[in-house]
């Protein structure tokens, strides 16, 4: 069926290393993608987004890459810090006809070792 999913449920990295969190989507009609960070007991916090007419977008220490050919999305976090420890969700917005509701993936738990 159509869904947004994640390749790895957990990721453990050393402080200072770069992190890469991956996401696969199956709906080619999706025109917008977004990454959220969720800390324990809190709501999803916006990190970065990208539209389907782009391949790459950079923010502060974060980069999102979109490969529409293989329907793959990734989040890169540079110089990972302990405060980056959280669950990261990717989400997609379906294209034409959608009022904007997001379809979320299952989440990847990022643990940063000091």
């Amino acid at each position: 069926g159509e869904s947004v999913g994640l390749h790895l449920p957990t990721l453990s990295v050393q402080e200072g290393d770069n992190s890469i969190i991956n996401c696969a989507y199956s709906n080619s009609a999706s025109d917008y993608f977004i990454w959220y960070k969720q800390e324990s007991g809190k709501g999803p916090q916006f990190i970065i987004d990208i539209r389907s007419n782009m391949d790459k977008r950079q923010g502060q220490r974060v980069t999102v890459l979109l490969n529409k050919t293989v329907k793959h999305l990734s989040l890169q976090i540079a110089a990972t810090q302990p405060g980056d420890s959280a669950v990261y969700f990717c989400a997609e917005k379906r294209g034409l006809g959608s009022q904007g509701n997001l379809i979320f993936g299952k989440g990847t738990k990022l643990s940063v070792k000091p």
Binding site: Y32, I34, Y36, K42, G43, P44, Q45, F46, D49, F89, A91, K93, S98, Q99, G100, N101, L102, I103, F104, G105, K106, G107
Partner: protein, 114 residues
């Protein structure tokens, strides 16, 4: 920085009782959403609301659910007769209509149905 707020943070209720979850979206936003997250699972879309009416809803959002914008600031989710399986975190989100699809989430209400 403006943010979405939600009350209460935790609601405990008996099965069959009605609950109302409250949200105050960001003030200049016009699209409003409710999502839920069962413990340990992904975030699921419930309903979107725009121009004082529901614009889209998921199959989860059955006749037991309703939404309302009773005034210029609040956005509520009502569950008429709660079931055990309604226990979850409920998140409100909002976005502006000014050329962005970015949704900003509130901190959530943890609903526990006993």
């Amino acid at each position: 920085e403006p943010e979405v707020t939600q009350t209460p943070s935790h609601q405990v209720t008996q099965m069959g009782q009605e609950v109302i979850l409250r949200c105050v979206p960001i003030s200049n936003h016009l699209y409003f959403y409710w999502y839920r997250q069962i413990l340990g699972q992904k975030v699921e879309f419930l309903v979107s609301f725009y121009n004082n009416e529901i614009s889209e809803k998921s199959e989860i959002f059955d006749d037991q659910f309703s939404v309302e914008r009773p005034d210029g600031s609040n956005f509520t989710l009502k569950i008429r007769s709660t079931k055990l399986e309604d226990s979850a975190m409920y998140f409100c989100a909002s976005r502006t209509d000014r050329g962005t699809d970015t949704q900003y989430f509130g901190p959530g209400t943890r609903l526990t149905v006993l």
